[in-house]
């Protein structure tokens, strides 16, 4: 029992550190990718190739003067970024990071907890994630922040519906809500992307909207709203908002890889001649390469596609994504019936 608790605590701590590390280096990668796309060099001063840039940025964030506006609601002003960070970090516990490790007859799964409603848990945490932005934007007592917060909330509610409907079709195909089980099913089989291409496309677009990334970054649209919901924030509280966004990208990439791209499974992994422990580490590596590809994809889109106008965003969400998602459910149902899987 004690060993179990210690093992789980270590795993939680590792996932926490990896999330923060990936988020920190995503900021660096974002600037390097942007530089590459715009034919520039990008950050190259701190360390070789600017590799120490995130550390320099972190120190700078902590050293900046912390300003809490006098007319703001102080408690809620601090609660906003804390909630954003909390909900961003909470999702990592249900993701299966790799196969089982076994030492001395004991099995150590590389997933913190495999609750039987895994997808619903992720969905619940995502749906309360908007409070961080809303509370922060309202507590700033600034009209620009407030408009950013209102935009964020209506955008997230709209795209959550299409995202949920896309997941319904996937759940119909897999017959389970547990993430561990969904990943296991894709072992030695076609990945779910082959069965659910339209569902994946809807999920991907909604993931962009849920993480407030370009082309859906209207809550922080600097051409209209100064800085959006974080206009009044400075120092590490601003850092928390920006960090939470990168952690959300990391987690969305992990969830997309596990739901649609086979998770940690390597194609033909039963042919690889290594022991189960080494295979588990290879699987973690393969899973992370998928995640890094998706993070790169998020950046690629950001530096390629311009921002939507707000009414276009709402039209896309309600008039295109939701009908498409419902059509996808219907098509999945018909296919399952035709193939006799019901």
């Amino acid at each position: 029992m004690i060993a179990f608790i210690i093992y789980k605590s270590i795993l939680v701590f590792v996932v926490f550190l990896v999330s923060l590390g990936i988020a920190a280096y995503s900021t660096y990668a974002e600037r390097k990718v942007a530089a590459f796309m715009q034919d520039r060099v990008g950050p190259d001063r701190a360390g070789p190739f600017g590799i120490l840039q995130p550390i320099a940025d972190g120190i700078k964030m902590f050293m900046k003067e912390e300003i809490i506006p006098t007319v703001s609601n102080k408690f809620l002003f601090v609660l906003g970024p804390s909630l954003a960070m909390l909900t961003a970090l909470m999702t990592g516990v249900v993701i299966p990071w790799g196969g089982d490790l076994s030492f001395g007859g004991q099995v150590y799964p590389l997933q913190i907890t495999d609750i039987n409603i895994g997808i619903l848990y992720v969905f619940g945490v995502v749906s309360i994630g908007v409070y961080g932005i809303m509370i922060g934007g309202w507590a700033s007592n600034n009209k620009y922040s407030m408009l950013g917060a209102l935009r964020a909330s209506s955008q997230m509610i709209s795209y959550e519906i299409a995202m949920g409907l896309a997941i319904v079709a996937l759940v119909m195909k897999t017959g389970t809500l547990s993430l561990g089980e969904i990943v296991n099913q894709q072992n030695g089989d076609w990945w779910n992307i082959c069965y659910q291409p339209l569902g994946f496309l809807i999920f991907l677009i909604c993931a962009f909207a849920e993480t407030n990334r370009a082309p859906f970054d209207l809550p922080e649209c600097e051409t209209e709203l100064v800085g959006g919901y974080h206009t009044e924030y400075s120092s590490m509280k601003l850092g928390f908002y920006l960090f939470a966004e990168y952690i959300n990208i990391f987690i969305s990439a992990a969830i997309m890889s596990s739901l649609y791209f086979g998770g940690y499974n390597i194609p033909f992994q039963h042919l690889i001649p290594v022991g189960p422990n080494i295979l588990a580490f290879l699987q973690v590596g393969f899973f992370f390469s998928k995640i890094i590809f998706f993070i790169f994809f998020f950046m690629w889109v950001r530096w390629t596609i311009p921002r939507f106008r707000y009414d276009q965003l709402m039209n896309l969400g309600w008039k295109i994504m939701i009908p498409l998602a419902i059509f996808n459910i219907l098509a999945t149902g018909i296919m399952m019936f035709a193939l006799g899987k019901v």
Partner: protein, 166 residues
């Protein structure tokens, strides 16, 4: 034993934050307290091993309905300073009707038997598979009827919000 402590803790949080919803003057704070109440109720569902219900409760109430509440309240920008002065007669009427409602509740509970509930710890009725089977076999008709009701509500809302086109 642990679940009993958790039960008392969650009940305390639920009742306390529910009271703060009506005591706090600031509407935004009230909404936030209501969200805390919903979370503690979801905790009760977890104690009853009804994980699906708990997750759906969080997604629907805390994640969607309360976001819309908060949205509307922020949009209207209600706060203490601009709250209009209310007349005393509605306040008196409100207190009297609340007391009457309380009497009705007490009268209902007076006749109720106090039976020890058997522990729901080992009941798996709240898990997704069982819940789905029960809903789509035994309670098929009420389930479908309530979905029709929701659909009617949705159509009504869309109709009301539509601008009239002549």
């Amino acid at each position: 034993m642990l679940s009993q402590y958790l039960f008392f803790f969650l009940s305390f949080v639920a009742v306390f934050s529910a009271l703060l919803v009506i005591i706090d003057k600031n509407p935004v704070h009230s909404v936030l307290y209501l969200i805390v109440t919903f979370f503690s109720i979801a905790g009760h569902y977890f104690l009853l091993n009804a994980q699906f219900l708990a997750a759906v409760h969080i997604i629907v109430y805390a994640g969607a309905i309360m976001v819309l509440f908060l949205y509307v309240i922020m949009m209207l920008n209600l706060n203490k300073e601009i709250e209009p002065h209310k007349k005393n007669i509605p306040k008196v009427i409100a207190v009297v009707s609340a007391c009457l409602l309380m009497m009705v509740f007490v009268a209902t509970l007076k006749g109720a038997e106090t039976t020890m509930l058997t522990s729901a710890k080992n009941s798996n009725v709240g898990l997704v598979e069982n819940l789905g089977k029960v809903l789509f076999n035994e309670y098929m008709l009420p389930f479908e009827l309530s979905s029709v009701l929701f659909l009617a509500g949705m159509v009504g809302a869309v109709f009301l919000s539509k601008k009239e086109i002549h």
